[in-house]
Point group: C2
Chain length 137, copies 2
Amino acid sequence: MKIGDLAKRSGLTAHTIRYYERIGLLPYADRNQSRHRDYDASILTWIEFLGRLKTTGMPIRDMLRYAALREEGAGTEAERRALLEQHRERVRARVDELNACLLVLDTKIDGYVETEQRKTDDDAPVQDRIRGRRKPA
Amino acid sequence: MKIGDLAKRSGLTAHTIRYYERIGLLPYADRNQSRHRDYDASILTWIEFLGRLKTTGMPIRDMLRYAALREEGAGTEAERRALLEQHRERVRARVDELNACLLVLDTKIDGYVETEQRKTDDDAPVQDRIRGRRKPA
DNA sequence: TCTTGACTTAGAGCGCGCTCGAACCCGTAG
DNA sequence: CTACGGGTTCGAGCGCGCTCTAAGTCAAGA
């Protein structure tokens, strides 16, 4: 598989794939006789996992550490696990943080809903003001 | 309140506060006779809300839009509400995305746990291999 | 009076993660 | 033969959100 194909299948651009190889996030790819990169489909699994790490906000420098351990192979599992467990905790914390912010956002939005309700009430005839009222003052 | 005090109370640096004012996220602050910014405590509420927007990943350009509407005052509530509702949806989607990634992360970590379990089993005497086994092959 | 330290402005610089341009090399179809 | 649509390397540039420096002003305390 050539870099263009991998780009299509992975969703990355060829530029980004080369960049990732350059910094060590992707292993150095075999080249064919024209010095073009020649990929095995198995790289897609790794790229997909990198995508998860990225999606969850792992900085590249940490992905590099994980990638290096992976390259090193057997014997690095404990450290890889520790790395992922730490990351998982950070992601969980992030989810909690976002959920907390969502509550605040809900409250703020409710405030605007009430503002608009009052406006609608003022524009409406009296019988609708009573029916439409949210918080009877 | 001077900028240094506001910095302490808001968690932002004085540099950042000035930057926010410069770009329009914070309203132009009144100056005292020494041309120093003089803040009212009420600004803290706004800074805190900006912090929520930032925490939830709203880009500054969107915060600027919201800030501009807020400055404009009455009559902009509907648009402010719409802005926040859109943002809320994006945040909810983000939470879902993170949760999906957490499942993948869990699976990956479980894989390493099993790797280590096998290693432990190999190092252990035979009776422990049986007791400790996770997936009987 | 002198020093200290917090403030002012304008503008340069930085860390991150790409993104792109330039100049060149190939293999294949017309 | 030649044009084209890939590929290659190297290095510069960019958008974001700050972050910091320089040079100056000002008020209060020793």
